[in-house]
Symmetry: C2
Subunit: 456 residues, 2 copies
């Protein structure tokens, strides 16, 4: 019913690309005790509910709450859904929208959108862009969703201050609550007040909770990703069913059965022992293009750590994630991947069945050299290019991991993203770092405030 995604590690093995670049059976045997220990640690953490992302698909109360509020807001008929959020508060939703809504979604008319709102994910503080959005989205016709777990994110607060002023002017203070929803961490009884809770109380906003044990980059299956997705008509029940299906695989300690652990092990060994300091993710599908961007945050922010779990303070761990897109980047990055330094482990992400295949017709008479295109389909061309890239990389002894989705829809995307989350959690253990904090990012905030407070 719900065919699973397929992982092919064969092209990352020494048998395919040599022992200098590929993983050997011995590499895996040597890692086995570490993997077993890491698995036990993750399992204990999961049982202790230390990291909530593991079990969001089992939180039925959360799902019902999200569905109820999405239904209520959908009935209000907002023309625009504007999400104010940055980093983990934006990337998950963007990934879902790109994958599961039609291309050029905002250019479709209301009927083509199934009566759903247009969507604007505001993940930066560029004044030109933000001003452009405000002109396109009159406050009285829009629903603004303000997302920040801590409530203290400078970028999101700056956006929110501008939006609430505009809302008050447009609809009056009393009606602001019909045009804004807050998604933030639980109410804190501590001293420092979460500013989003202050805004929420000021305007009487409806709100949803980001569970305390779910970090930003692991929050796509929490209300952060689910609420706006549901409002856009994405089937969040199927999305969570996809997580659940993958959970059935990623609970296994066996590399052969657990694609998340297998990917984590290969990436770790490639990085530590084979000089693969870069992890490329290159989907051959426009719909999956933002999966790489979402993964980029997950991989970089989780593993890029100076301090080790063992107390070392000069570990400087991490592997740099790089976002690609096939076939486009064959005409941009592939020359380097094939002939440059052999420092990458490349994931090719492909799709077996497209919603439309687009036949390529015969060209006019006399048009030579296109027989291999005529009568085929554009879908087949894209798949052929993916296979060609895999073969060329193998011939150049560059290790490749292939992941194939049967098709792009809620269930398969749920599988894919959940797999990548578990992979990252396991990779944290293997790299010996805390995959769930981001100490350096916190430090930047102090510098930013200093620059803002300076005269002028």
């Amino acid at each position: 019913m719900n065919p699973a995604l397929r992982l092919d590690l064969s092209r990352a093995r020494s048998a395919a690309v040599g022992a200098a670049h590929g993983i050997t059976p011995k590499d895996l045997r040597t890692l086995a005790p570490d993997l077993a220990k890491a698995h036990a640690g993750l399992l204990a953490d999961r049982r202790a509910a230390k990291y909530g992302f593991f079990d969001l698909h089992n939180d039925h109360a959360m799902l019902r709450e999200v569905q109820a509020l999405a239904k209520e807001c959908a009935a209000e008929g907002h023309e625009n859904l504007v999400v104010l959020g940055i980093g983990g508060s934006a990337l998950g939703l963007t990934t879902l929208v790109t994958a599961l809504k039609p291309p050029y979604y905002n250019l479709l008319d209301a009927a083509q959108r199934g009566g759903r709102p247009r969507v604007f994910v505001m993940d930066n503080v560029d004044p030109v862009t933000f001003d452009g959005m405000m002109k396109l989205c009159p406050p009285e016709k829009s629903l603004f969703v303000i997302i920040s777990k801590s409530g203290g994110t400078a970028e999101t607060l700056a956006q929110a201050l501008i939006v609430f002023e505009a809302l008050e002017k447009a609809v009056g203070k009393a009606r602001v609550k019909r045009h804004a929803v807050a998604i933030t961490g639980p109410i804190d009884r501590g001293k420092t007040k979460n500013p989003i809770h202050v805004l929420r109380q000021t305007y009487g906003l409806r709100w949803l909770t980001v569970p305390a044990n779910v970090g930003g980059r692991f929050s796509v299956f929490s209300p952060v990703g689910l609420f706006p997705a549901a409002l856009l008509g994405i089937d969040i029940v199927e999305l969570l069913a996809g997580c659940r299906a993958m959970d059935g695989c990623t609970s296994s300690p066996s590399l052969a059965r657990n694609p998340a652990y297998a990917r984590a092990a290969y990436h770790f060994l490639a990085c530590r022992d084979k000089g693969k300091s870069i992890a490329v993710m290159m989907p051959y599908s426009d719909q999956l293009r933002d999966v790489s961007d979402w993964y980029r945050q997950l991989w970089a922010e989780s593993l890029g750590k100076k301090n080790g779990l063992d107390g070392r303070q000069d570990l400087f761990a991490g592997q740099t994630p790089v976002k690609g897109l096939g076939a486009t980047d064959q005409h941009s990055q592939l020359q380097l991947y094939l002939e440059g330094p052999n420092d990458k482990l490349i994931t090719l992400l492909s799709v077996r069945r497209f919603a439309t295949v687009l036949p390529i017709p015969k060209g006019p008479k006399g048009l030579g050299g296109v027989d291999y295109l005529e009568g085929r389909t554009m879908a087949r061309l894209l798949q052929a290019e993916c296979n060609a890239t895999a073969d060329a990389l193998r011939a150049a002894q560059r290790p490749v991991v292939r992941v194939e989705l049967p098709e792009v829809r809620e269930h398969t995307l749920g599988q894919l993203l959940y797999m990548l989350e578990v992979e990252t959690a396991m990779a944290g253990r293997l790299f010996g770092v805390d995959a769930f904090d981001q100490p350096a990012v916190e430090a930047i905030k102090v510098y930013t405030r200093q620059y803002m407070r300076r005269g002028k």
Copy 2:
């Protein structure tokens, strides 16, 4: 009148980040003879018109031809401009559009667009995306620009076959020529026919030439970038004036006066001697976000080479370019940049003056912790974050190059892109590779054809 962009290398020097990571005065002295030799070589190549990109801003006949055809097509009142092209045929235009047209340009109505068409750059062969575009752009209301220098690009030909069939159906064969323009290499008297010339002759298309000595990734200032830009109302005369202004600097052999050579030298030394195998470009401006993508092709495809100019066949040269965006990626990549492996040279690209600054109003009473935002502007926040990132990177001994544009407009963008082109040409010489070919990419085409021709 036309303030120049500003380059700041101080944070990439040993004085800022130590000699293990930064460039020392001795490093530069040692490189001086190589730089002088490379300069002489580039100069000789330029005089021999070997590489045409150097002098596109001096080709007045080309400019007049582009202007005339753009004027003619503009008068026809097409609602959509659809560019069929991939790699260098797409990236330059995308960069110009993102930088110089308003945000959400395609969502504006015709009046807000100044009567200019919407623009769709089709740089992939995803059937879902292409089908979506065809539904939004009825052939009879659209102008299709087919771009491929060789004329044999599989992706572009597949797109073109679909488009010409749809055009014939919609407007009749005789009127296809009012809806399509070809941009391709000069007419070749050889045996293998450029398929785009066959299409051009079949339908009697208007067309423009990509000069034989201008490669795809160096073609933004040829008709490839200029014609569609002009049709969209971008001031291409000013763009070329920006190139000319930068040419005044990048003709100098002196590192102190030539920002392109200085950047090339720093990148080369950082890569060869300081372990900086990754070059990040992180603009703090949404308008400049695609400059990184364009530069990514330029840097990767030009330098990623197995063979050296000296005959070596195992050089495996290159530095992996990574695209970033500030402030967004502070919440995604910066943790890794600050605490992960010290293997990056990071360019922060910033803007002094935004077209709008967007004041941040005061929040409601009781909202604490936002005093540093209230009464400031969003533009200032973005700039403060850029400064904060630069300071944090310096404190972590990560080398940074800063480039500041006084503002984003045609003249400054012309300067920036031309500088990066000359930088890449110089870097090719320093890395000891041919910066103007892409042998590995050609090989992939053979594999692709094989996969397409297989049964089924």
